[in-house]
Structures are given as C-alpha cells and as structure tokens.
Symmetry: C2
C-alpha cells in the first residue's frame, strides 16, 4: 500500500519513454477531496530545479490538488525552456483532471541539465497516459511508487493507521541523501481532515528528526520535495497523535532510503549523547557521518575510533576533548579519551552499525543515519551519467 491507502486519492504510474529501460517513469497522485489542504518541505540548496521553483509557489496558499512526478531528468539548470516545461506539465495535469494549474505540484528527478524538447514531450505524453489510468486501489499506488525510482533497487512505501484515518506514502532516493534534504521525492497522503497550517507544523516536526537526519553521502540535491496532502475524506480531525504517526512513517521511509543507498554495505547509526544541546549532538553525529576516512574504515570492518574523534573535533559543540567516550557496536573502544576495550572485540560484519559518542557535557542527544564509503559507491557515482 502506498499513497492510495487513505480515502480520497487516486494514483497512476506509467511508462512515458524517459527511462531507456522502458520502466515506469511518470507518476500522478490526485487528491479528490473534499479537502485539498497540503504542506511541503523542499531542499535547502540554493541551486534548485525548475519544478522546485514552481512547486514552492503552488504551496504558498496551502492548497494542492495533484502531484505529478517524473524520473529520467531533473529539469534543473535547463533555463527558461525548462521552467516552461514545468509550467506546461502542471497545465496538462490541470486540464486532464479539471483543477487549477496553480494547485499542481511538479517533481522531477534524474540528471541535472536534462530537460530538452524530447524530455518535455515524454513528460507531457506521460501526463496524458497517467490521467487516463488513475485508480484508487493499492495497485495504482504501487505503480506510482515504481515510476519515481531512479537508481533505487526497491520501491519505498509506508502506511500508518490513526484512529479513524490513514496515512500513506511513497519515496524515492538512493544517494545524495543529505539534510535539507536529499535526492529524495516523497509524497505523503492522508484522509485525515487538517488545515494546511496544521499539516505544515506536523510535517516540519516529522522531517526535522527524520529526513533531515539522513545523511548518506553529505551531498545535497537540487530537487528534493516532501509533500503532504490531506483529502479529509475520513471526516476525522486528528489529535496530537497525528504528528507522532507521521514521524514514525517518515522514520520508516528514512530507514528504507538508508538501506537502499547506492553501493552501501553498512547502515550506520551515529548517536551522540551527553550533549549540551540537541544541535551540538546533531553537529557531532553529522561530522562523523561526513568523514570519508571514518566511512571507508567501516567499509573495511575497521573500528577506527580515532577517525570518530578527529571528526568530532571539527565541530563547535561544547565538550572537553579529553573526556570523550566512543562505543562501536556495544564495545567501548575509547573511554575518557584513552583506549579502553580492545578494538578487535568490535564485530563489524553485520550491516547495521551503531556508533555512540558521549560528550559528557549535558543530557541532549541526536542521531544521524549514514552509510559507509564503498567501492560500489565510487563505481555507481563515477559511471552514472556516462
């Protein structure tokens, strides 16, 4: 089940010719209401793709009737022609389903610089095909989730049941996973009845500790979009549990993105505890997550805790460097800044890897999810465009 799990949504995923493999490459998600409330978060990159420029404007009034997504081209740095393509795409969706183009979110993913006339023709063909086969069943949601895959090896979906309402979601992303956000497109639907302000607050709360803390390779995308649509079709106005359920759903999608990260052989959870603030804890965890030396060591099953500390030392977090502890997969290899349990006791053969840094400076904590740096990562990312 995916974006069609809640009542009031139809979806489609079709083959429009953007992917040379002939796989599905255009997805459409339509909110049939009665409500069209929505919220979204976008990449914090300043260099953004045409669909992001467009969709930020669409979200300005908190109303979204449909989301159209394509893989096979990011439509980023494609000039005025590329922006016109996004505009035409929204208008084509609007015409097909009888809504305003100003209520259609557009998402694209693929190579930057790809967005020529062929790209435009394929996307518009895809919109026509998708509009014809919109359905509200589980299979339609699955087809949509499949159509947004790029280097993903599996389609990523999640659902949560609240009291009297449902939340459904699909996500794509397999690299360039970094804060604010990542090469990530996520559509979340719910039949709960919430105004856009309430959706926005819930979505920001949920992404702050989930997608924003997934940092696979330190690289930030130009196209990231996470959009939340509420149809209100359940007639239920949810309570505070909605944010909790939404956060759980986002966390599940994060884990699925991490587990499918390009070329990774370890899923690394880096938790900093004993911090003076949550921001300090996040900064330290993220610095470790971005150390290529640390990430290469984990690939080599080498519990090289020196590289953890060398990364921690690049931050402004409050701590005394001489009393830091480092624990890897349950073995405290460094205590108070001195070698402690023998590093050869650490078993790094499981894919799941846990690194804990204790700053002994307070009570706050934060976790970053990352991956190791592998030969397959280098291979996939050196050969992607060619």
């Amino acid at each position: 089940m995916s974006v069609t799990a809640p009542k009031g949504f139809r979806a489609a995923g079709v083959t429009a010719g953007l992917k040379s493999t002939g796989k599905r490459d255009v997805a459409l998600v339509v909110n049939d209401g009665p409500s069209a409330a929505a919220a979204a978060v976008f990449t914090s990159n300043r260099c953004i793709a045409n669909p992001v420029i467009w969709s930020k404007q669409v979200l300005a009034d908190g109303t979204v009737s449909a989301v159209v997504l394509n893989s096979g081209g990011a439509n980023c740095y494609t000039g005025a022609f590329g922006f016109a393509t996004t505009h035409h795409t929204a208008e084509a969706v609007a015409d097909a389903i009888g809504v305003s183009a100003g209520d259609v979110v557009v998402c694209s993913t693929g190579l930057i610089g790809v967005g020529d006339e062929t790209f435009r023709r394929h996307v518009l063909d895809g919109v026509a095909l998708a509009a014809d086969v919109l359905e509200d069943g589980a299979a339609a949601g699955d087809r949509a989730a499949e159509a947004i895959m790029t280097t993903d090896t599996v389609a990523k979906t999640a659902t949560r049941e609240g009291p009297g309402y449902t939340i459904g979601a699909m996500a794509k992303g397999a690299g360039m996973l970094a804060p604010g956000l990542a090469t990530m497109l996520v559509v979340i639907t719910t039949d709960a009845d919430l105004e856009s302000a309430g959706l926005d607050a819930a979505l920001r709360a949920a992404t702050r500790t989930t997608f924003d803390r997934l940092d696979s390779d330190g690289c930030m995308s130009t196209n990231d979009t996470v959009v939340l649509l509420a149809s209100g079709a359940s007639g239920v106005t949810p309570g505070a549990e909605f944010t909790q359920l939404l956060t759980e759903l986002c966390a599940e999608l994060c884990r699925k993105l991490q587990q499918d990260a390009e070329g990774a052989s370890h899923d690394v959870t880096i938790t900093t505890v004993g911090a003076a603030s949550e921001q300090d804890a996040e900064d330290v965890s993220r610095a470790v997550a971005r150390s290529n030396l640390f990430k290469a060591a984990i690939f080599g099953n080498d519990p090289n805790w020196g590289r953890v500390l060398a990364a921690a030392g690049t931050t402004d977090a409050t701590f005394d460097p001489l009393v830091l502890d480092v624990t890897i997969n349950g073995v405290m290899v460094c205590k108070e800044g001195t070698p402690h349990e023998p590093a050869d006791r650490v078993d790094l053969t499981p894919r799941d890897t846990l690194v804990e840094i204790d700053l002994h400076a307070g009570t706050d904590t934060a976790t970053i999810l990352t991956n190791d740096l592998t030969h397959d990562y280098v291979h996939e990312n050196s050969a992607y465009a060619s």
Copy 2:
C-alpha cells in the same frame, strides 16, 4: 636538498623500530643559530594529539632549538601516559644537544590511539640514535624527510633562494588533507635573520593561501604542524620578498602533497571567480572539493557539472543561482545556468583537472586543490589500520 639547505641547521633520520617495514621513522632537525626564532601553525581541530598540546606551549615564546618527529604512531588519545611520552621525548632531545626541553617541538604521525610503552621506548631510542648522527649536509636533510613518511610514496622537499639567504623544507602527508590543516607535518628552515613575530606573520600569510586551501578529502587531522625555524646564520635580514618566497615554497609542497594523495587519479584545481569576496570564492571552491558525487564523477572522467552547481548551492556565498558558469578543462559546459558547450568535448583523461566557477557577483577569486574519489582511496582507507 631539504631542511639542511640553509646554514645553521643539522638533521638526521633514523630507524627506531616504529615502522614494521624497518624504514626510517624518527627525524631530528636542530637549529644551531645564532638565532632560534620560530613560528608555527597547528591543526584547527579541537581534538589534538599530545605533541600538539606540547608544541603549542613551546611556541609561546617564539623560540625553538629543535624539532623531533616520528612516524608510526600519532600519540593522540593516549592519555596522561602519552603526554608524558611527548615530554620525555623533548627532554631526551634537550639533554642530547644541550638545549632547554621547552624549546623542543615534538611532532608525531600515524594511528590515533597508538602511544604505549613500546611506542615510547622506540621514540626515545630514535632520539638517541638521531642525536648521534646529526649532520649539516644535503644527505642528512633527505634522511630526515624520509623518516617522516607514512603512506607517502615519495619524500617531499623544497627550497628557495632569496638575496643572501636560503629557505628549505620537508613535508609529509598523503591524505586527510584538509584545512587547518591536514595529516601534514612540515618543517621549514631558513638562515635569514628574522624575529619570531616576523616569521609568524610570513608563515600565516603563506599558509592561508597554500596549506589551508589543500583539501584532498575533507578530513582534518589531530596532529598537523607546520613549523618555521630561522637560524640567522646568513646574517641577512630579508625584505618583503621573504613572504613571497615562503608562499611559493609552501605552494610547491602543496602540489607535491596533492600529487601524492592516497589513491587519487586526478589532481583537481577548483577556482571560483567573479565572487563578491575572497571568502565567498573559497567557500564555493571548497564545497565543490568536498562533494563525493563530484569527486567520483571526476574519477569516472565524467564532466558532471550538475554536481558542481549542486555543491555551490549549499554555500552562503553571494550569487544568483540562475547565472552561474561552469568551465571544465577549458570547455564552458554551463553558461548562465543553462547547458552550453557539449560536455563530451571535455577531456578528463589528464591527471590535472581544472574546474572554474564564475559567480558573476564581483571580482574576487580563490582556488582549492583537491583530488578525485577513487577505488584506491576507499581501499587504502578501509585497510590502513588492520
């Protein structure tokens, strides 16, 4: 020629048993004066090794009589015992050559967490051996340069001749090359006659645009030290050209460090022009230098300019994202934010790679030197400790 090129210096490089290969691993450089003026810059990492804690104190009065350096162990996060080892090492040098321990700089390089009793014994053995064979010839300088190598494949030295004086240097470093500084030990000697304040100003000016802009893999070391010793033995007080010559010498060493970076197959020069400030230009160049996706693309001979812009967009530099130009090896692949010359015109087969980003926001410029992300980098850094 190396640190013994200027008058007034003796050096040694000996085998003390720290390297399992039996290669030289302890170096000693002695300033016989008449002056003992000195300056140094250290890693800006907050997690620093015992020799750095010690040597920062030594430099407080601007007087240095000798520098002792070892490979085969970083003596970092080795606790009180490790600091005592550094202290004993300085005292052993002081006793052997008849100076104050407070004027002996200590540098260590190798694995973090290595600094036990065996390490101490080997280092102290090395000091005794080195003190016995101090010489002022070129061969002695070369032996010292050899003794500080870790994963370096070549010893790195450089000299410059000023009017009536000489500058000589040795450096080690082959990875973890990042600002402020890198896994880098550099000893620079001169027989010019300058006070420590003048040396400090010249050294900071030189390193600001050289070692601080070498960013091989974004990782910052715990042990970096660049120390400049002046013997005054030439009797010449240099003019403003000293800083220029020193900068040239540091730039030459930077290139040698870049060219020997672990596993690299491209030496990448990233220049940002048209910036509103030098800091903006540096920030953009460095963001690109730290993008694993960009670095993997260069390894794959793929002129993926989208990854250049995606990295630029993560900075706070002043620019309009829609008018950026990107030129790779002389081919302007992106002009005013739109695809321009065909990317397949870019020849990335040479090791030297030039990337230029024009922000169209001013007249300032800055260059960062980096390397690509290769299978060999992953291999070397996943297998180093084991």
